[in-house]
């Protein structure tokens, strides 16, 4: 079963990756097991985002760069604002990476 490895780039994903790297280097884990852990992380993270999170955000900004390659959109926005009920964040530059939700395998 394939997973979106997208979320491994988040902080929680990077922490997990670093932890697994250290443990494999110290031979506490086999590399195969580390891969299994990461795949499970992909699934768990996707589930959590789908089921436990209920907020809606609106994004506005100036599109500096757009790219669509291999079913992945990458946008780079300048002077963007992120708004939701509890959020109002202006950022000068943000990168948005989005995978196709229809490709999520069941």
């Amino acid at each position: 079963m394939s997973t979106f490895e997208l979320y491994r780039r988040s902080r929680i994903g990077m922490c997990l990756t670093e932890t697994l790297d250290e443990m494999v280097t110290n031979e506490r884990l086999s590399p195969d097991l580390a891969i299994q852990v990461l795949m499970q992380f992909d699934r768990s993270m996707t589930d959590a985002l789908e089921n436990q999170v209920k907020s809606k955000v609106s994004i506005k900004g100036h599109l500096h760069t757009y790219r669509f390659c291999d079913n992945v959109w990458t946008f780079i926005l300048k002077d963007a604002t992120f708004k939701s009920e509890e959020l109002n964040e202006p950022v000068k530059r943000v990168k948005i990476v989005a995978c196709d939700s229809k490709l999520l395998s069941q």
Binding site: S10, T17, E18, M23, P31, S55, D70, F75, A98, L104
Partner: protein, 334 residues
């Protein structure tokens, strides 16, 4: 929002740990490794600020004898101090060493391949890097080998160049002269070897003829400063292409700083297409984090220069905060 980000992360951690417990047991890694994984993961997240310090778990269902839950408010001491748990800094040398060449297909720069390969070939890289059991950096760092393999080539060029510079004479046609001298030197001093790239010593000064030189730096320059090797002449100075290496960390592309050593080499202008302007902005305002949104898209449309997209299930990292969303609407002006 009812649940805050920390709580969601804790739940993800718990979920992952509980689901891989069986795998750990089947693989023979054991509960202790699992507990260590969990503890280290949570500790890193706390250090990164992804979760808050007081972690409240719903009643943990522990079938086995409760493994001592580490007090996460103190630094992680490790199991018995059998081995020094290396810090990330020790294991993964600092950035400058590991930048790939511009020519290598890093595929890291933005999103290279389809969803299954999304994060730049992490599975392949994990296997490669972890299999070798060297202190390889995390998969998001380009393995240093492509760059390092190319080093001898860079040094090779420099050997010839060094020979040319060693000439203290001024000649009319310095190109031919240099070539001749190089050939003579190669013949004359056996220790030059096959133009071996590793030779960094100053070659024999017993050259047959002094050739006049009419270009470049004053030839006494070398004598003024003891020649220290050709490191500065490496075209692929570390740090030049950090941007290609990892998209997320906020690192600017350093300006080429090798100009002083190379006087008669034409500049390659290899950094012309880099996003210098973007990186400058980044340096000034956001020294540590790049704002990033990772999500899935439902629809992306465009009308003239107005772009609209609907996203879902995303993690946003803005202003050093993590924010999760279920749905997002974007409207961008190109």
């Amino acid at each position: 929002m009812a649940t805050n980000v920390s709580a969601v992360y804790i739940q993800v951690v718990d979920d992952v740990i509980s689901k891989i417990r069986d795998e750990f047991i089947n693989f023979g890694a054991g509960e202790s490794a699992l507990a260590e994984l969990q503890a280290m993961w949570e500790m890193k997240m706390m250090q990164a600020g992804a979760i808050s310090g007081n972690i409240e778990r719903p009643a943990p269902q522990k079938n086995v004898a409760p493994t001592p839950v580490h007090d996460l408010n103190v630094p992680y001491e490790g199991p018995i101090e059998e081995y020094e748990t290396p810090t990330a800094d020790m294991l993964f040398p600092p950035t400058p060493i590991q930048t790939p060449l511009p020519g290598t297909d890093s595929g890291m720069y933005n999103i290279p391949t389809g969803p299954s390969d999304y994060a730049p070939s992490p599975i392949a890289d994990i296997r490669n890097s972890l299999d070798l059991k060297t202190g390889r950096p995390s998969p998001y760092m380009q393995p240093p080998s492509p760059w390092m393999n190319q080093r001898p080539l860079g040094v090779d060029v420099n050997v010839a160049y060094v020979d040319g510079r060693q000439e203290t004479d001024r000649g009319s046609s310095q190109q031919a002269m240099t070539q001749n001298v190089v050939n003579q030197l190669h013949k004359g001093s056996p220790k030059h070897g096959q133009g071996s790239g590793t030779s960094k010593v100053i070659p024999d000064r017993g050259r047959p003829a002094l050739l006049p030189q009419s270009d470049g730096v004053q030839d006494d320059y070398d004598d003024l400063f003891p020649f220290q090797g050709v490191a500065t002449e490496d075209y692929n100075t570390p740090g030049d292409h950090v941007e290609l290496r990892t998209p997320t960390p906020a690192v600017a592309t350093p300006k080429p700083n090798k100009d002083e050593a190379e006087d008669d080499e034409p500049s390659l202008n290899e950094d012309d297409d880099d996003d210098d302007e973007l990186d400058d902005d980044q340096d000034d305002d956001e020294p540590n984090t790049q704002h990033l949104v990772l999500a899935l898209f439902d629809k992306v449309t465009r009308t003239k220069s107005r772009w609209k997209c609907t996203l879902k299930d995303g993690i946003m990292h803005l202003n050093n905060r993590d924010i999760l969303f279920n749905k997002a609407n974007g409207e961008f002006e190109f």
